[in-house]
Amino acid sequence: MHEFSVTSQIVGTIIKEAEEHRAKRVVQVNLAIGKLTFLGLEQVRFAYKLLTKGTIAEKSKLIIKEKDGTVKCGKCGYEGDFKYEDNPIYHLSTPSLKCPKCDNIVDIVGGKECTIESIKLVTDKDENK
């Protein structure tokens, strides 16, 4: 839903970082986006392309790693994927906050992140000397 504004923050951050490293170009950006965010990957890629145009990050490779939503149970210690309640009539798979093992209520511990993990930069060799 907020791909454009979020991506514009991403692009701003990487360009600032690249400039601090006196880089000539940004060649690759590694993102991790949680499945529980409301960010559509297709839209992020589209916005990234537009927003990097004319910058030192133009034509850089955007690699997005999707992170699963994970939950943790305070009672039995389960940590992992959600339990899903399936309803084939509606082609529906509803995530539930019940622990898949003991039915206790779980806490969401992962899947809400949108992290720039790392970037790959190119610097001018001569300038570094």
């Binding site: 839903m1 951050t13 409301f38 539930s96 993990e117 790959k120 190119v122 610097t123």
Partner: protein
């Protein structure tokens, strides 16, 4: 054509960043939460679709609780102060938050709005979000409790179609129950859907025009 520029191995290098773009809002929300707690203000988010009855619910809550608490409300809307004035009529101090074009409130807007209030003179704060069931789930504001209001006129599948906002809710208010029959909506089924997603959430049934069921909302919030 000039010779192509090729990066040599030693010219390319990785920079580890580990910067979470969505974390900035979560951090601000945490600051809001601490500020509210320090001043002994109980803050409650009210989220829900356009026309679900968020403002009507706040009006009824203010009416019922104004003898017991000093109440303020933030009223998020794209534009206009129509709803804000509506709530202010009942005696609450209201700060309208016009988001312009944004479809949700964020922690920064709430932080700004908090500066307009004397928090030492308030016990209870309602934060009404922009009518939307998607975006507000992404942006915590710093409240202690979150209410999602839905109404039977939104149809029978409102809950299962928007599971994530219900996963974060402490209380789900099913409003306009007087229209359930005409809309052919089974309110018990809606409650069941909420419980599948979030067994911890409480469910209240209301008609915010007459005030029916508002006492059960107050009980569920322990106010």
């Amino acid at each position: 054509m000039k010779e192509a520029v090729k990066a040599e191995e030693d010219e390319v290098f990785d920079v580890e960043l580990d910067i979470d773009i969505l974390k900035a809002n979560r951090k601000l929300a945490e600051e809001n939460r601490k500020l509210l707690q320090k001043n002994g203000v109980k803050a409650i988010d009210i989220m829900g679709a356009i026309g679900a009855g968020k403002t009507s619910l706040i009006e009824k809550l203010v009416e019922a609780l104004k003898g017991k608490y000093r109440i303020a409300a933030f009223k998020g809307d794209l534009t206009t102060t129509i709803d804000a004035e509506q709530i202010a009529k009942h005696g609450a101090e209201v700060v309208p938050i016009n988001t312009g074009k944004e479809c949700h409130l964020d922690a920064n807007l709430v932080k700004k709005a908090l500066k307009r209030l004397d928090l030492t003179k308030i016990d209870l704060l309602f934060i009404e979000n922009v009518g939307n069931l998607i975006c507000p789930a992404e942006f915590p504001l710093g409240s202690q409790k979150r209410i999602v209001v839905i109404s039977v006129t939104e149809g029978p599948y409102m809950v299962i179609k928007h599971p994530f906002i219900f996963a974060d809710a402490d209380l789900v208010v099913i409003n306009k129950i007087d229209l359930a029959k005409a809309m052919q909506v089974d309110i018990k089924k809606l409650e069941k859907d909420v419980k599948i997603i979030n067994p911890n959430a409480k469910v209240a049934f209301t008609n915010c025009r007459t005030g029916e069921g508002v006492n059960t909302v107050i009980e569920a919030l322990r106010l």
